[in-house]
Amino acid sequence: MPNSDAQTVIETPADVADRYALEIINVSKHFDDVAAVNQVSLSIDKGEIFALLGGSGCGKTTLLRMLAGFETPSAGDIKINGVSVLHSPPYQRPVNMMFQSYALFPHMTVEQNVAFGLKQDRMPKAEIEVRVTEVLELVQMTRFRRRKPGQLSGGQQQRVALARSLAKKPALLLLDEPMGALDKKLRMQMQLELANIIESVGVTCVMVTHDQEEAMTMADRIAIMDQGEIMQVGAPRQIYEFPNSKLTAEFIGSINLFEAVAAFDVASGGAAPCRLECAELPCTVVSNETDSRFAGPCYVALRPEKISLETSLEPADNNWVRGKIDDIAYLGSHNVVHVRLETPAGKTKIVQVHVSNFARHAKSLDFEQAVALSWEPEAVVLIKAEAA
């Protein structure tokens, strides 16, 4: 009975054990000579929904499989509730996983699927019955308890898979691409529903996804992974508004990046806003950033929805450029307007701007029309240029 074993150990007094449900300490995994996961350290609070977000091959799935016990780390340690699980096989860890394919046992009914884990713990039959009913009610699948997985729709299978992984009350719930097998419409609905169920149960959850919308909808915190390393960890809003690297900025949403050199007025004692000279923008950029660690080469990052597009060409001192409309993409909810700028270096640079349908009609935008772009100083995010 692995779960009860783990619980007896939890009671040993350790401050850290009370704080974090999961600690990943300097974990690396090498396949032959390639590092799939490289020196990853993460601490995840109790009851938190944490998303590992990254493209394919970034190591997120390998990391998840190490938590479940299907892969052994080459180095580092994994602690659940303060206890190292490094040497426990998957069937002894207080961890349950919802697989991308759901992995429901096709030869068992919904009920038998959910009861499977409890049976392995030799729970008395009556208790199993009660617990199965409880979790099936939680996911609203009680009506289908006698069906086989093959007779359920994708969304229903997902609910059963979730019920099965919650049945044993795991210390840690793992979700592998939870929406991967659903169509887009169902995805939106299930994202919120799944997050609500997980929150109502209060289980700590680590999910893996390549879909940023999914991560932002469901997770309390997100870690962006690339090439086996964690690039940035933070709340969805923090990651979107303040990306700390070019990679994160480009990975989440769309963004306009301009190479720039930041200059700080040191005499003002850090109170004056930072002024930037951009090789790719024919104007002076002013930002609210006062942290002088950005001094020197950096990127100016501007989200397309934070740039305003005007047809009047009244010039402003800074944060103002003039360009011509190169292309307009109609996306239903809004339009993405590509504006072509002439850079001081004599090249052209395309800037993406989001324009609402209403504004597009009011301004009757057309190709090759001259427009002006402007933005507020607080919209400017600085990203330190990586040391080449």
Partner: protein, 271 residues
């Protein structure tokens, strides 16, 4: 469309007309296999009284059953190792040696096994004489190849995360095999069993090589009796066989239908 239908009918007639003729003539009164006189079941009665034929029939059934069970057991283990153990030293050699009997001419398999048994009995005194036991060993040797291929393809098709999910829920690897893997590959075990059974029942060449005095399988007896002229008893025996095969394949089809319900649409799940 019309031409296709004609071709289909022609093909079916070509395949099944001889069988039909054989069944009809098994109820013929005449001694001559080609001339119809009147309806009679006397060849069936004579068949039941023919100790040599009946003995060979039961020996063949025994060998075929024993072969099928052994081949499924060994084939399952071999397939499981091949599919689930990843790369191991000598894996390529192992997998090609397992399928080698598929492409080996029967005469060569038979001859080499005969040489092996003769050599063994000279060296170790075992097997003391050749007979049902040596035929069984020989049949297992070549039918394991077929069974392994059937089972390993089924194992490969299986969603590997099913086994991982069972382990994740607390089942030990051994338990996972018996509670998850085995039920899911059962259809492959059944078809493997049937194939091994048929191969063994059917085999004449290898059995002739490795058999000894007193152990004649059905194909051996039929073959030698046909050389002396076809007896209508053989027709009767063949009719019984066809009947058994019909009943057997219906039962298999019926069980498979029930198993179909279990089989998930793997593609839908992967989407």
């Amino acid at each position: 469309m019309r031409a296709a239908r004609v071709m289909l009918v022609a093909g079916l007639v070509f395949l099944y007309f001889p069988l039909l003729v054989l069944i009809i003539y098994s109820f013929n009164e005449s001694r001559l296999v080609t001339i119809w006189t009147e309806f009679s079941v006397k060849w069936y009665i004579e068949l039941l009284q023919d100790e040599q034929l009946m003995g060979a029939f039961f020996l063949s059934l025994q060998i075929a059953c024993a072969t099928a069970f052994m081949a499924v057991l060994l084939g399952t283990i071999a397939a499981y190792v091949l599919v689930n153990f990843g790369r191991f030293p000598g894996q390529t050699l192992f997998s090609s040696m397992i399928v080698a009997p598929l492409v080996m001419p029967e005469v060569i398999t038979g001859l080499s096994l005969l040489l092996l048994f003769v050599g063994l009995s000279e060296l170790l005194g075992w097997p003391a004489s050749r007979g049902a036991m040596t035929i069984w060993i020989a049949h297992v040797t070549f039918s394991v190849a077929f069974v392994t291929i059937i089972i390993s393809s089924r194992l490969r098709e299986m969603d590997g995360s099913l086994e991982e999910a069972a382990m994740d829920l607390g089942a030990t690897p051994l338990k996972v095999f018996f509670v998850i893997t085995l039920p899911l590959i059962m259809p492959a075990l059944v078809s493997g069993w049937l194939l091994a059974f048929t191969l063994s029942l059917d085999d004449l060449v290898i059995a002739s090589f490795v058999s000894g005095p007193g152990a004649s399988t059905l194909p051996m007896v039929i073959y030698s009796s046909v050389r002396l002229g076809v007896s209508p008893k053989i027709n009767a025996l063949a009719t019984i066989f066809v009947g058994m095969i019909l009943v057997g394949s219906f039962l298999v089809w019926w069980t498979m239908q029930r198993w179909q319900v279990y089989a998930t649409d793997k593609k839908a799940a992967e989407g």
